[in-house]
Symmetry: D2
Subunit: 188 residues, 4 copies
């Protein structure tokens, strides 16, 4: 692959001080250092109303869903950090995917991605990511098998935003490298 891999990176959280935003920033930096070209988006840019088929028929797709589609299509794949809400994926993120899934051509089909989660619990949000795989793979996304779950996120960052501890940083770097290698092969 002669050009760098292009990845859309976003965290599926609207709150300002989101652990998933912090984790996503670390992942985006590590991916850049590994040669990827990162389009770092805010979830708020993809703001949509609640999905309603009547709304779609009368008014078409909302600007936030169109912006999401435009950014996905321009990328080879994505880094997505998502909180776990109630043992599953956030309704907000699923609502965006529900809108995007109605577009033709469907923007996610043929893309690849890697999932991450941060959580203040000991479990690290991994159960939510397993539920998130289902609509993404159902929509034709090739997901990197390994997922990065950051437990006890409230103790996991340095004041400057970097991950605390060489071991966890190295784990993220290695996992990202595995995904980037897969992405480069799939997008070449």
């Amino acid at each position: 692959m002669l050009r760098p891999l292009r990845l859309l990176a976003f965290a599926a959280s609207l709150r300002r001080d989101s652990w998933n935003k912090k984790l996503l920033a670390c992942a985006a930096n590590a991916a850049r250092a590994d040669g990827a070209d990162i389009d770092h988006a805010e979830f708020a840019e993809f703001d949509t109303p609640l999905y309603n088929a009547d709304l779609q028929e009368s008014g078409g797709f909302p600007p936030g869903a169109q912006e999401f589609a435009r950014r996905v299509v321009a990328a080879d794949g994505f880094l997505l950090a998502s909180p776990e809400y109630n043992f599953s994926l956030p309704g907000t993120l699923k609502n965006l995917l529900d809108w995007a899934s109605r577009m033709r051509p469907m923007p996610l089909r043929g893309k690849h991605g890697m999932l991450l989660a941060a959580s203040t619990s000991l479990v690290g949000g991994i159960r939510g990511l397993w539920q998130l795989r289902i609509p993404l793979e159902g929509l034709g996304v090739t997901l990197y098998p390994d997922m990065f779950a950051l437990a006890q996120a409230h103790q996991a960052f340095e004041p400057d935003g970097r991950l605390r501890g060489r071991e966890v940083e190295e784990r993220l770097r290695k996992q990202l490298h595995g995904y980037l290698e897969m992405g480069r092969r799939l997008s070449s």
Copy 2:
């Protein structure tokens, strides 16, 4: 149980001509005929903005989530008909559950429910219901094990809204009866 079982009944669809609304209406009628007291709600009454923890902290719970909580708390259990979007539950419904899950006391805990789905496909929406069970059970709802999936919904209704065919009507009646029996025991 001396008083009738009180059930909140709603379909998780905002569109006007929703197959799930039609199926829910049939289920509500059958439950009434079996002695239940039905509070038939429109999903639009539970309209909420996309979940945002900052919004919750600054502005509290939106009126739609509060209305949902009030109706859930007033009921013993619920009948919930939900479409399947992308092999999972609708983001709209998950977003409502995400709001409700933050309330204290949490309105769904200790309630029971039965899930239904209508779909124009041959599969009938059952995969979405399996994903819907996860947040509901995680929130402490006792779900009736059997679920009612109506396949090929576009051919399943009479012009007056009743289910076409004695067999499918009987299947719904029996399954509802099983749930009502469970509900009466749990709420006595």
Copy 3:
């Protein structure tokens, strides 16, 4: 309910020193102290060959599956402690359920149960239990919504087998009591 609730209790592990066996023993004791009548079984009593429909047709059901069915039928419900293998339920347990599901009448239908898991990890085996709910509920079992996951099981027991720490013991006792209350209502 005039008679005590009868529960089959077993841990889905064949190894001798199984954390799930230890946890199951604690749960069985706590359920007895709460008035339940416990049939404590060893998983090895339910030993079956790998499921093969030809084998079933030629030779009928293996003794281990028949024993499982007999014990399930004699009980109102069950306590089941299961390890997590590879983010899902053990193949051994699923194989037993696959045999049992072919019997007519199907022994699990109409029963209720509560799931537990012990694991030496920080996550506690809860992901495996979520996958275990699917075949059990699909087979008509009413599962208590809350599940008991014991993390870091290698540090969780006293030498005499009791759970270490008042807090975790109390959490188990309370959760069991909630299940027993549900079970008594459903089986009355």
Copy 4:
């Protein structure tokens, strides 16, 4: 990629007249016609006792698990047709994966695969495949997002074993081609 892609192909069924074996044979033929090198295995070659950690410690890995590992390691990826048992994957297949997951190096890590299912029902076994993805992806397998579900399998084959109907044959051929293209990129 100068050499052909090497795929292990097997159906997770022990019965002689298995719809999944028939479907697997069609898929193996189509993959060969598309240039792949197929190692067609019988599930019975991977026969294992029920997983027991004590057994592993005392006796090592059973011959069936070792044979499975050897064949997986020799391949770039796999075609796996699996029946759905009780809304989930077969216990027999999970038991094999549970054995294989204990081996070091773990034979499945880094492999890729595509899943298929045949069923006599209208649903086609797709729910079982969704549960099968979890342990496979958890073990590091890159799964092709699309899965091939053959509904009403008892009416789906010609007497000579080929799929009945140009449309379904074409659907299988196209989906396989998509997987082979992914596999060639990942294994180059």
